[in-house]
Symmetry: C2
DNA sequence: CTATGTGTTCATCATTCCCGAACGGCGGGT
DNA sequence: ACCCGCCGTTCGGGAATGATGAACACATAG
């Protein structure tokens, strides 16, 4: 897991352990959390009390919930990047034109994070929303990004996160993935044919900065029935590429 | 500031102090933060290192940024509540019909938090977005909520947060506010005539649960020039009330 | 009226973090 | 080139501080 810091502040770690557990088990109580985390009840209680006092956690009838204050931090994070603001209108017009689901993903710490998602009229329903984190190796978006990362970085990411197989079409071999990444660089487009979710395909293009480093990726996703032939292999890629181009241009002048 | 917990975990407090400061001063370095917070550099450094290791903070060329992981927590918080999902479509149709800015606010810890915002075609630009926190006493949304809170709770909130005057129209007298809250209960609608932002007016209605406790408030906001007469005092309130009704109904059956 | 489940309080002790001071690298004056 | 100032980073010792289990108050159920 990489190198570790010299003086890790333990309480910070436990704080976020508690918060993350609380996200999973919304409305949990002190005891439930203490069991889940193998921490003494009193410790959990102290943390929760402090968090409540600081308004990061809300207590309702003895059950705890994450506080709205996180919206603040989360919103800020999203808007920090011009990427969101710049990409959003382009995504909307793609959604309107294709009626499908349009996604924007960025890489952080070797994982993909959905930053924005716009739904066309026929858009499939996928559970994941803004902020959701996914592995990079088995999504079109992730591969589009990986293709433009330096090779040692790609290796590092695979070392750290492995190559899980979410469906039978997932790529699980490192060599195979690298071959595919090379193809993606050639074509400028990545495809995902049911690699992450059965029945779901997508086309994805990277958004690059002036030095061709990936700052994100843009995709159109839909059911396999609609995502095939000309449309998947040529129409959508063209649409995405020109959108990515506009975004890249706008980003460099701001 | 209310009663304090018995064993406040100091590190939790400083952790979030650092994070909040980092939100304000995005891209700050160790020294800048340490000055801002009156903490030794090394302490700040230790915290930041841990936060980085835990992926809540990203370091770029020695400058720090909030990590996208907060999107995760923030998104979750917003979606926790059915309120968002239920209200969103109603808000969109109001935005379309009025061309103005439609807001959804909930109360937490005596403050108002914007949970959702939908923009009509003519919508004014207001800086505040999702997650933004405001005082309750001088916004239409806040007053709509206060009007349906028990009186002792209202007093508590004023005690804790005071009654700041953001514009010359802001209400700063406790008695005056209470009179207005009574009026709001009578009418079922709250108005904000440039009380928080000069030139900006709004009409707001509360969203109530079965026991008439406020779970949020809905508003239409626009420039004073468009928000007056019939439209402000009767058309918009009617529209808002019926939307709130639909939301309230949907919420009770889910 | 016990029995088990909460959330909460409290005092103890040693762990853990606080913090000053020193290091090393970078960049910009002069 | 030099030095100075500024930055992020490292280190270690001492003491504040959070971890902890046991006990408490309260509810709910058998």
């Amino acid at each position: 897991m990489g190198k570790r810091a010299n003086n890790p502040v333990k309480s910070v770690v436990t704080t976020f352990d508690i918060l993350q557990t609380l996200r999973r088990l919304d409305g949990a109580g002190v005891t439930e959390l203490s069991n889940e985390l193998d921490l003494p009840k009193s410790s959990v209680y102290n943390y929760l009390s402090t968090l409540e006092q600081e308004e990061y956690v809300v207590k309702e009838d003895g059950t705890y919930h994450l506080g709205l204050r996180f919206l603040d931090l989360g919103r800020y994070v999203r808007e920090r990047d011009d990427l969101y603001e710049t990409a959003r209108p382009e995504m909307e017009s793609i959604a309107e034109e294709t009626d499908e689901l349009v996604n924007l993903l960025v890489e952080e710490h070797g994982q993909g994070v959905y930053v924005c998602r716009v739904r066309g009229d026929q858009a499939v329903n996928v559970a994941a929303g803004t902020g959701h984190r996914v592995a990079l190796h088995n999504t079109g978006l992730g591969k589009a990004i990986l293709a433009y990362l330096p090779e040692n970085r790609v290796d590092e990411i695979i070392d750290n996160h492995g190559m899980s197989a979410d469906t039978e079409h997932s790529i699980t071999d490192r060599g195979e993935l690298k071959d595919e990444l090379a193809e993606i660089r050639d074509r400028g487009v990545a495809f995902d044919r049911e690699e992450r979710i059965g029945g779901l395909c997508c086309a994805a293009v990277p958004i690059l900065d002036l030095e061709d480093r990936p700052i994100g990726a843009l995709s159109v996703a839909g059911p396999t029935s609609r995502m095939k032939g000309e449309r998947l292999e040529s129409d959508l890629p063209e649409l995405l590429k020109s959108a990515a181009n506009v975004i890249e241009l706008n980003l460099t002048y701001s």
